[in-house]
Amino acid sequence: MTERVINLKSFFEEARAGRLTGIRCGGCGELAIPPKEFCAACQQRDWRPVPLAGGGTIVSFTVIRVAPRGRGGEVPYAVGVVKLEEGVSLLGRIVDIPFETLKGGLPVRFRPLQIDTQTVIGFGPA
């Protein structure tokens, strides 16, 4: 099989429609985002896409106050790593949660964001 079951483009197309998708290894059950060829855990090439519910908790976060060129109008904004309830983690923008209430372990829920024309992984209140 040379075609991946899901690639980055289709991952973001699905995410844009509100559907978060991971891949599960048929060899060892490892769950991963984003798509890749071999499983880093067992070296098999036997992935299948699995829908993810979108709920999770914050692992770590930061509030960015100095932004790259073209994004100065967005500061301050929060970015965090979220551990999804299925066990796999994902990084995204954290929105609609007051900065002072952000903390490790806080429940959040996936939501797609559109920034300019780009689909961005986002997380809002659970």
């Binding site: 980055l8 973001f12 991963a32 985002i33 984003p34 880093a40 692992v59 770590s60 976060f61 930061t62 509030v63 960015i64 106050r65 100095v66 932004a67 790259p68 060129r69 073209g70 994004r71 100065g72 967005e74 904004y77 970015v79 965090g80 790593v81 979220v82 983690s89 994902l90 990084l91 995204g92 923008r93 900065f99 490790g104 920034i115 780009q118 689909t119 961005v120 992984i121």
Partner: protein
Amino acid sequence: MRRVAVIGVGVTKFGKHDRTSAELFAAAAADAITDAEIAPSAVQALYFGNVTGGETERQLHMGPLAATLLGLPTIPTTRFENACATSHVAFRHAVMEIASGVSDVVLVGGAERVLNVPTESATEFFAYCSDASIEQPAGLTFPGVFALIARAHMDKYGTTEEQMAHVAVKNHRHGVLNPKAQFQKEISLETVLRSAYVADPLKLFDCCPFTDGGAALVLASEDVARRHRRPIWVLGTHAATDTMFVHEKRDLARVTATERAAQGAYRQAGKTPTDVDVAEVHDCFTIAEIVATEGLGFFEPGTGGLAAEKGWTSLGGKLPVNPSGGLKAKGHPIGATGAAQIAEIVTQLRGEAGRRQVDGARTGLTHTLGGNTATVLVSLFGRD
């Protein structure tokens, strides 16, 4: 495999320059060749590092350009890019070219120039070293990456913002002793703690600066080095990679690539962390030095902050870390940094570091980290 030595070092002043990256490298390289006391024509190859030249100077194909400006227009050149670890990666490959017997004398190093563009542009170009599918669109910056690490370290071990500030104060104190450093000025704990947040919990004075500069090393085989009056031997050099995605790191409070690179380098050298007399480690942010000193085995996990607070890593402490001032005060021209760290350790092991000399240093270590903690190199050096 043949033994390899560093026989020449050259580093430009770090700071703002009106010279191009290739010019900065050529100047450092000429100093390194002069320091090595070899004829320029003895150099058989150039391993050159640069990261952002395409963006900041519209200049690619910089290897031949640097060789041309150096006055060695016919030697083979290779350009390396591994984010902030660039010239340490180039160094490892140059070591392998000599160890394998392909060449006897190789020039290696790098240069960067970013102070000719606005800070927001430099921030953008550096962010290209993170993933462009998930991380850049989310607005993640490099201070942001290390802020995520800092928060995880604080949550797991109780590390404090004040402990991180001690790293900045210490490295600025060291930088005062380094005439090549970008900042040669002491700062107070209050200055660090009162500076503005860049990416919480990291503040302006937790971050290294943007820097222009170049650094170069002349490496030689044992038979060439033996004719030299002060060879510093490469005892071990090891590279490790970790997943590029921040969200895939198994534990954000650790840098596993540092741990694996260190284990490989110690094994090659037949050394342990307690053998190290002086170290230059990658302190792009204060938390990065804390996590590095733990991953290198100098201190137990979770105690790197305490080590900085207690002065164990200061000049005069039990293990001086970043006597050059580190990336924090010496500056961080990302394509040059790995070579500049090695130049400092070579200078220390020669006993030529002047007011920042670690007395009697026999074994030194350099640690360079690239990107989202995805690339890490560790090398060990010793004198006869």
